[in-house]
């Protein structure tokens, strides 16, 4: 369709095109003036993460690093390490060992730059009474606060993102802001998240958390080693969740929760490597996955190394 014709005496605009342009122009002026700088427009028109080439990703990362440095007054590295070939991450948690001390919960906050005010925790440690119908998560307690743990009549089950092979959250997202990477980590692009929280409703594990307010975290508490799809600082109105510490594990390190656990209940490794500790757990121990009946196919394996 011809909309703009070049005539002898100049450019002719038809009415419809003119109105469209005017509407866009007005929308532009409605933006807060302090945000209408180049970096705002860059992020506004940023392509989908998986459609960007390496140069474009590099440009986005340096823009973010610039923004974060301005905001937190310290250098923050934003990485974009890709999934390693031949790797599918799996996690194991030994329920016969967990003592419910919540060390993992707070190590996760320290590592992954969650908001501390209002508080966001990616790991929830649930407490169950022994000998009851404990798979009923409704009967669990996450605000338990005894003087000392473990308590004789209870046991504990930490729950975080299960990194499903068939993730319902990914299907629910209307903007494709969340997806499963080749190493099995379900990631979120915070720049594409529109905050509709459909994924939170779709997740059967309560693993996704929403930034209801501008994340509150002191600059000195910010972990400067970050990943674009992981622990980089977030903003108000986006959803976040556990990424198996993508910034660590894609560089070969253990997740922070694994290293924080004082009883060694947490296991991590490559499901495709027959010699990995997670494979050893799956092959030698009684293993179950949470809400298996939902066909989400989690890569988070709970097991009992020893009789409870």
């Amino acid at each position: 369709m011809r909309k703009i014709e070049k005539k002898k005496d100049g450019i002719h605009l038809d009415r419809r095109t003119f109105l469209k342009g005017a509407a866009l122009g007005l929308a532009g002026t409605a933006l807060p003036p302090n945000k209408a700088d180049a970096s705002f427009w860059e992020s506004f028109f940023q392509k989908h993460f998986r459609e960007m080439n390496d140069a474009e990703i590099k440009q986005v990362l340096s823009r973010l690093e610039r923004e974060y440095e301005e905001k937190y007054k310290k250098a923050i590295k934003v990485g974009s390490e890709k999934a390693m070939p031949g790797v599918l991450f799996g996690y194991g948690l030994d329920l016969s060992r967990c003592i419910g001390c919540r060390r993992c919960e707070y190590a996760c906050v320290d590592e992954n730059n969650q908001s501390t005010d209002p508080q966001i925790h990616w790991i929830q440690v649930l407490r169950f009474k022994k000998g009851e119908k404990w798979v009923d998560l409704e009967e669990s307690e996450k605000y338990y606060n005894p003087e000392l743990v473990p308590e004789k009549e209870y046991f504990y089950m930490p729950v975080q993102c299960q990194q499903c092979e068939n993730p319902p959250c990914v299907r629910a997202c209307p903007t494709q802001a969340t997806w499963k990477d080749p190493d099995g980590i379900v990631v979120i692009d915070y720049n594409w998240c529109i905050g509709c929280r459909y994924c939170m409703a779709a997740c059967p594990y309560g693993a996704r958390h929403f930034n209801w307010a501008e994340p509150g975290r002191k600059p000195e508490e910010i972990n400067p080693q970050t990943h674009y799809l992981g622990n980089r600082p977030r903003v108000k109105g986006v959803v976040e969740k556990c990424t198996f510490c993508i910034q660590r594990t894609r560089n070969g390190r253990y997740p922070a929760c694994v290293e924080a656990c004082p009883v060694g209940a947490r296991k991590f490794g490559n499901l495709l490597d027959p010699n990995s500790e997670i494979r050893y757990a799956i092959e030698h121990k009684r293993v179950f996955r949470l809400k298996e009946g939902l066909n989400t196919n989690p890569k988070f394996y709970y097991f009992f190394a020893y009789g409870v």
Partner: protein, 188 residues
């Protein structure tokens, strides 16, 4: 006398052919035996620790206590079980009727001693624990029991048994949990 079992099934009437067959069977046998011997030797070699196979955390000595020989040098070893007058904070709650020299070595205090008399360094104390807790040691080596830090695909640091279980009273003590999360109703 030798290898009657080989002859038993064979009939002895075939004469020269049998000699040839016997030779072949002998060769096969020899190869089989060699294979078994070498593979079992390899298994045994893996059982023993090559130095540096497990990078471990430093043993959790009380400050200044090691090397033990700094006090025990020249002190005659009293091997009689008794109530100690030094080290009195150590109350052994590990095995019934246990005694220091079940694990410690009276002649060289800077080493531990296995039941078979072999001395091990404190950094290799897992082999001492594994004498009784063999299945646990197996799982510790496989990466299941206990804790490791470092790389999931590379160099790991293994926590020694004694880093988590105080050997004189190995059962875990209760610890204080970190505070519970804020209830949604309490978020201002």
């Amino acid at each position: 006398m030798r290898h009657i079992w080989l002859k038993g099934a064979e009939n002895l009437t075939r004469g020269d052919d049998m000699v040839e067959e016997n030779k072949a069977a002998w060769l096969l046998c020899f190869i089989a035996v060699l294979t078994v011997v070498f593979s079992s030797a390899r298994i045994h070699a893996e059982e023993q620790d090559t130095p540096g196979k497990f990078v471990v955390t430093p043993p959790p000595f009380s400050p200044g206590i090691f090397p033990c020989s700094q006090c025990h040098q020249g002190m005659p070893a009293n091997k009689k079980p008794r109530k100690l007058t030094f080290h009195e904070s150590i109350v052994l709650k590990h095995m019934p009727d246990g005694w220091c020299f079940d694990c410690h070595n009276p002649d060289n205090r800077d080493k531990l001693r296995l039941a078979n008399g072999k001395l091990v360094r404190f950094e290799e104390s897992y082999n001492l624990c594994g004498q009784c807790h063999g299945t646990i040691l197996r799982e510790w080596k496989a990466g299941l029991h206990g804790k490791r830090t470092g790389m999931w695909n590379g160099d790991k640091q293994y926590y020694l048994c004694v880093s988590c279980h105080w050997p004189h009273e190995p059962r875990f003590k209760q610890i204080k949990p970190l505070p519970p999360p804020v209830r949604p109703a309490d978020i201002k």
